[in-house]
C-alpha cells in the first residue's frame, strides 16, 4: 500500500472532521468507547481507500459515506454480540456527574436507555438518516450523498423517524 505525501495531507484534512465522524458513530453504536473504536475503523478504511477519492472537494461527503457504511457493517456484525454486552455497557458508561443528584442521574440514564431503544427500533433506512442528522448534524445534501438518495427522501425519512422516536418515547414515558 504505497501512499503519497498528497494522500497523507488529505488524510490530515480528514482528521478535521473526526468529531462529526465520532458523533455519527456514537449514534450508531450508542456507546462512547465503541464510537471511538468505530471512528478509528472509519479512518483506517478511509486510509485504505484513499486512492478512490478522485476529487478532494468531495472529501467531507466521501468521508461521511465511509463512516455510514462502516457503521452499518458494524451494526450487522454486532447484532448478536450486542445482546451479551448490555450489562457491560452499564459499567463502561463514562462518568459525568456534573453535580447532578443521584435521582436526576438515574432518570437521565433511564431516558437515555429509552432513547437508545427508540432509535434502535427504527428501520435501518430511517435510523441512518436520523443519526446522520441528529448526531452528525449533516445537511440534507450531505445525508443524501452519503446514503445515495434524494434530498426530498431524506426529509421525508427524517420526518418519519422523528415522529416514530417521539411516539415511542411518549408511549414508554406514559406506561
Amino acid at each position: 500500500m504505497k501512499r503519497t505525501e498528497e494522500d497523507t495531507k488529505v488524510f490530515d484534512d480528514m482528521l478535521n472532521y473526526k468529531e462529526v465522524v465520532f458523533r455519527i458513530c456514537l449514534g450508531f453504536s450508542r456507546n462512547p468507547q465503541d464510537a471511538e473504536d468505530l471512528t478509528q475503523e472509519v479512518y483506517l478504511k478511509a486510509w485504505r481507500k484513499i486512492d478512490t477519492l478522485n476529487d478532494t472537494n468531495l472529501l467531507r461527503a466521501w468521508l461521511f459515506k465511509v463512516a455510514r457504511n462502516t457503521c452499518l457493517d458494524h451494526i450487522n456484525k454486532m447484532r448478536l454480540r450486542k445482546l451479551f454486552r448490555q450489562d457491560m455497557q452499564e459499567e463502561r458508561e463514562p462518568r459525568d456527574h456534573n453535580g447532578k443528584t443521584p435521582e436526576h442521574r438515574l432518570e437521565h440514564r433511564q431516558q437515555l436507555e429509552m432513547l437508545k431503544k427508540a432509535v434502535g427500533g427504527l428501520s435501518v433506512k430511517l435510523r441512518e438518516v436520523f443519526i446522520l442528522k441528529e448526531y452528525g448534524h449533516l445537511t440534507y445534501r450531505e445525508i443524501a450523498a452519503a446514503v445515495g438518495i434524494k434530498e426530498g427522501t431524506v426529509m421525508s425519512r427524517l420526518n418519519r423517524a422523528r415522529r416514530e422516536v417521539t411516539a415511542w418515547m411518549r408511549r414508554k414515558n406514559n406506561e
Binding site: 500500500m1 501512499r3 488524510f11 482528521l15 473526526k18 468529531e19 465520532f22 458523533r23 456514537l26 462512547p32 464510537a35 471511538e36 471512528t39 478509528q40 479512518y43 483506517l44 486510509w47 485504505r48 463514562p94 459525568d96 437521565h108 431516558q111 437515555l112 432513547l115 441528529e134 448526531y135 422523528r162 415522529r163 422516536v165 417521539t166 418515547m169 411518549r170 414515558n173 406514559n174
Partner: protein, 205 residues
C-alpha cells in the same frame, strides 16, 4: 415528555437528551489523543500489509483470465454433459453397428449343437440390450424425430399384448424383463434388423 406536551415539544426534549449524551461523549473523545492513535494504527497497518506483486493485484488481467479459463474448463464440459440433447445420430449408428455384428455372429453358430452361446455372443447381446434400452429410455417419450419413429416401428413390429402397447404409447416403458425378453426374441428372429432396414429404405424412397 407526557400526554400533555405537544409532539414538537417532545422532540425538542429528545434533541436535548441527544445533545446531553453527545456532550458527555465528546468530552470523553476529546480527552483521547485520537489523531496520534489513528496515525499509529495507520502506520502499523502500512508496515505490516503484505502486498502482492503488481502483476497479480486485482483487477490485473492475469488472475482474472486464469480464473475465467479455469471456470470455463470445468463449466463447459459439465454444461455440455448435462444439457446436450441425446445424440440420435450416434445412437442410430451404434444400433446399426451392433445389429450388423449380431447378424454376423448368429446364435446358431455358437449354440446350434450344444444349445450354448459363446461368451462373445452373450456379451454382444448384452451390449445390444443396453444400447437399445438406453435409446428407448431417452427417446421413448418423444413423439417426433427420426429415431423414435423408427424405434417405435421396430418395437411394434413384434407382436405385443394390447395392454403393453397402450402402456408404451402412454410413455411408460415396459418393465426391463419384458423388454429384454422381447429384444432377445427379436435378435433371434432377426426381425429387428429387417424392420429397421425396411423402415430406412422406405424413408429413403
Amino acid at each position: 415528555m407526557s400526554k400533555e406536551t405537544k409532539p414538537e415539544e417532545d422532540f425538542s426534549a429528545i434533541q436535548r437528551l441527544i445533545r446531553e449524551e453527545e456532550q458527555t461523549a465528546i468530552t470523553f473523545f476529546q480527552q483521547r489523543d485520537f489523531n496520534a492513535r489513528v496515525k499509529e494504527r495507520v502506520e502499523t497497518e502500512s508496515k505490516k500489509t503484505f502486498t502482492l506483486p503488481g502483476w497479480f493485484r486485482f483487477p490485473s488481467p492475469i488472475p482474472v483470465l486464469s480464473g475465467a479459463v479455469l471456470v470455463l474448463l470445468i463449466a463447459v464440459p459439465l454444461f455440455i454433459h448435462l444439457f446436450s440433447p441425446p445424440e440420435q445420430g450416434n445412437d442410430l449408428r451404434q444400433l446399426e453397428r451392433i445389429f450388423a455384428q449380431a447378424q454376423f455372429q448368429k446364435p446358431a453358430e455358437s449354440g446350434k449343437t450344444s444349445n450354448r452361446r459363446s461368451p462373445e455372443y452373450v456379451a454382444l447381446e448384452w451390449r445390444f440390450k443396453q444400447a437399445l434400452y438406453s435409446v428407448y429410455l431417452r427417446n421413448g417419450n418423444v413423439s417426433d424425430g427420426n429415431l423414435p419413429h423408427m424405434f417405435n416401428k421396430v418395437l411394434f413390429s413384434v407382436p405385443m399384448p394390447g395392454e403393453e402397447i397402450t402402456a408404451f404409447r402412454e410413455g411408460e416403458p415396459p418393465d426391463s424383463r419384458t423388454l429384454e425378453k422381447r429384444i432377445q426374441n427379436m435378435i433371434k428372429e432377426k426381425q429387428l434388423y429387417r424392420t429397421l432396414k425396411n423402415v430406412r429404405e422406405t424413408q429413403e424412397v
